[in-house]
């Protein structure tokens, strides 16, 4: 029980990743696939944050006396997540603009019907 409690955040973030992947694999509508991609990326960002998280931790700044390094959250994963969010925004913007263009050409966003190119 305690193990489960300790790893709640891990289970939650990996669950989000799995949900995102499931949506991307199963859904037919491109917008839903992009939403799945978004959830997938959010799950990964949370996973990164969890890696450096300490419960009741503080920011890693020695602003007051009595703060010890052991009670500080690891700042590196947060910096990574910041980068990763920016990358995610770029990918998402590009994906949505491509979806608009795809709809102009095909008149549908159903991925099962968009199959001009084949193996």
């Amino acid at each position: 029980m305690n193990l489960l409690y300790d790893s709640t955040y891990y289970i939650a973030s990996i669950g989000l990743i799995a949900i995102g992947l499931y949506i991307m694999l199963v859904k037919k509508n491109l917008i839903k696939v992009i939403i799945g991609l978004c959830i997938f990326e959010t799950g990964i960002n949370l996973l990164l944050i969890v890696m450096g998280y300490i419960s009741h931790g503080t920011a890693p700044v020695f602003s007051q006396t009595g703060l010890s390094a052991g009670k500080m959250v690891d700042p590196t994963p947060q910096a990574l997540v910041l980068t990763s969010i920016v990358i995610g925004v770029a990918v998402l913007a590009l994906a949505l603009s491509l979806a608009v263009r795809l709809h102009e050409h095909y008149g549908t966003l159903n991925l099962r019907k968009i199959r001009d190119l084949k193996w």
Partner: protein, 487 residues
């Protein structure tokens, strides 16, 4: 000052809109300048890094605490190759890219090359991811540059598959950071044996799968034929010549340097072999020339992965030679075929009948590059394939002998479909009048330059060998890499 190799193209890329205010015509020359600088600078650096790899730590902190660049023979050699192909294609684009948002094309093009250069030079795994993403995002956008039906569809496929791959890489990096508390590749490599092999196995699989999407190894290559055939020809050349190679480099770096996973070599062998056969057989039945070339790239990637899977210094040197010869030959093929498509307006192989008489130079270039890919002497493809076969036979194992036999069967299939193109070019009469067309300088110069290199490396492979051998030993010598970075 290795940083200049990344900073100059990055700065120029964002300066292009400013140049656009002066004149739209000028913007096309900016990538040429950037890549020329990178080529010259990498070649100047090469003699120094062959003596001793150059380390740069950003911000002045020693390596484990900062992002660092590792300019070894492998990194600088690949950055020279990237700059060379990038230069040739940017000259070609001066005449080829005439419609649409030219400025944005050039910005994205330079960013793509910046990402590729950064990815091969960095010594920090998250930094590798960031540069890899710069490469990927700009190539998604460039595939869709023409904005036509097939281009958009291919870009969507590429984007979805590529982003899942990038996501997997990031999960792998997160797990590695959780295990070791560092992002420095050398430090991870140093501590990799301190944890149980099972917990290292998960990030290894995630990273290899993620980078494998860009490298187009077999089950992950569904995007490649669409993206390479639907993109503008200049972009197809850069994707086939450079972008895949960065994926292969990243896979090799992860397997050899970070994880030192010598027990995965047999898996690599098998993966390479399957990729090779799938690629070559799919290429054989294509009737669209660009799709055929794209599938041929899949086959060549398989050969490179196979060579890396041999796991000896000679095998890796052969694989690296194959990277060079494929980058040169495939970019010539895409550029030459791109010019033919531009003139004839059709991508079908049947529409190329009799073009040998209409466009003698471009057809000649096509034939030389095809011969080089098949591995005929005296072109660059011959020594690379020869080295791989020799390295496999030197293992003296029945397994390797059988597998190299199958690889050679793949080469025969490759010969069959390339000779079909040659036949169409020269030995079939076209129904149209055979009016002689001279290729413009912007197409002829880069193709000619790359052809000269193909022949030069084919006749005198020893010119490349010292570089390739020390690059191969850089990949294999894990302890040396760690010592070089951490001191």
């Amino acid at each position: 000052m290795v940083v200049l190799l990344i900073v100059v193209p990055l700065g120029l890329a964002f300066a292009i809109p400013l140049f656009g205010f002066i004149s739209k015509r000028v913007t096309g020359f900016v990538p040429v300048i950037g890549m020329l600088f990178n080529l010259v600078y990498s070649l100047l650096l090469l003699p120094f890094v062959l003596q001793k790899p150059e380390m740069v730590s950003i911000g002045g902190f020693p390596p484990p605490f900062s992002i660092n660049l590792v300019a070894g023979p492998l990194g600088v050699g690949l950055s020279a190759l990237i700059a060379l192909v990038g230069l040739a294609v940017s000259i070609y684009a001066l005449g080829y890219i005439r419609e649409g948002a030219q400025e944005k094309y050039h910005v994205l093009y330079l960013l793509l090359l910046t990402g590729a250069t950064g990815a091969v030079l960095t010594g920090d795994i998250f930094n590798l991811f960031v540069f890899y993403e710069i490469l990927c995002i700009s190539s998604y956008a460039l595939v869709a540059y023409l904005g036509d039906r097939s281009g958009i569809e291919a870009a969507v496929k590429y984007l979805i598959q590529g982003s899942v791959g990038s996501g997997l890489i990031l999960i792998g990096i997160a797990i590695l950071y959780g295990l070791f508390g560092t992002l420095n590749m050398a430090q991870i490599a140093q501590n990799i044996n301190s944890v149980s092999s099972l917990s290292v196995f998960v990030p290894l699989v995630l990273l290899v799968t993620g980078f494998g999407v860009e490298a187009a190894v077999f089950p992950l290559n569904a995007w490649l034929p669409d993206a390479h055939s639907s993109a503008p020809s200049s972009i197809s050349a850069i994707l086939s010549g450079i972008a895949i190679k960065v994926g292969i480099y990243a896979v090799a770096r992860v397997i050899f340097t970070i994880f030192g996973a010598s027990n995965t070599f047999h898996f690599l062998l098998l993966l390479g072999l399957i990729t090779l056969l799938v690629g070559e057989m799919s290429a054989f039945k294509q009737s669209n020339i660009k799709r055929m070339l794209a599938y041929s790239s899949v086959g060549q990637v398989g050969l490179i992965v196979y060579a890396f899977g041999i796991g000896t210094s000679a095998g890796i040197a052969g694989g690296l030679f194959q990277i060079v010869s494929h980058a040169l030959a495939k970019s010539v093929l895409f550029l030459a075929v791109g010019y033919m498509i531009y003139r004839t307006g059709s991508m079908a192989i049947s529409s190329m009948n009799g073009i040998g008489k209409r466009m003698p130079f471009v057809s000649f270039a096509c034939v030389i590059a095809a011969f080089s890919l098949v591995g005929l002497p005296p072109f660059a493809g011959f020594p690379s394939k020869f080295l791989i076969v020799r390295a496999a036979l030197a293992q003296g194992d029945v397994l390797f002998t059988v597998l190299i036999g199958i690889v050679l069967v793949g080469t025969v299939i490759e010969g069959a479909y390339f000779f079909r193109v040659v036949q169409a070019l020269y030995f079939r009469d076209s129904d149209k009048d055979a009016r002689l067309e001279k290729a413009p300088a912007s197409a002829a110069v880069p193709i000619l330059a790359l052809l000269i290199l193909i022949v030069a490396f084919g006749i005198y492979p020893d010119f490349l060998m010292p570089l390739l051998n020390s690059a191969a030993s850089e990949l294999l010598d894990k302890a040396g890499y760690i010592k070089g970075v951490l001191g």
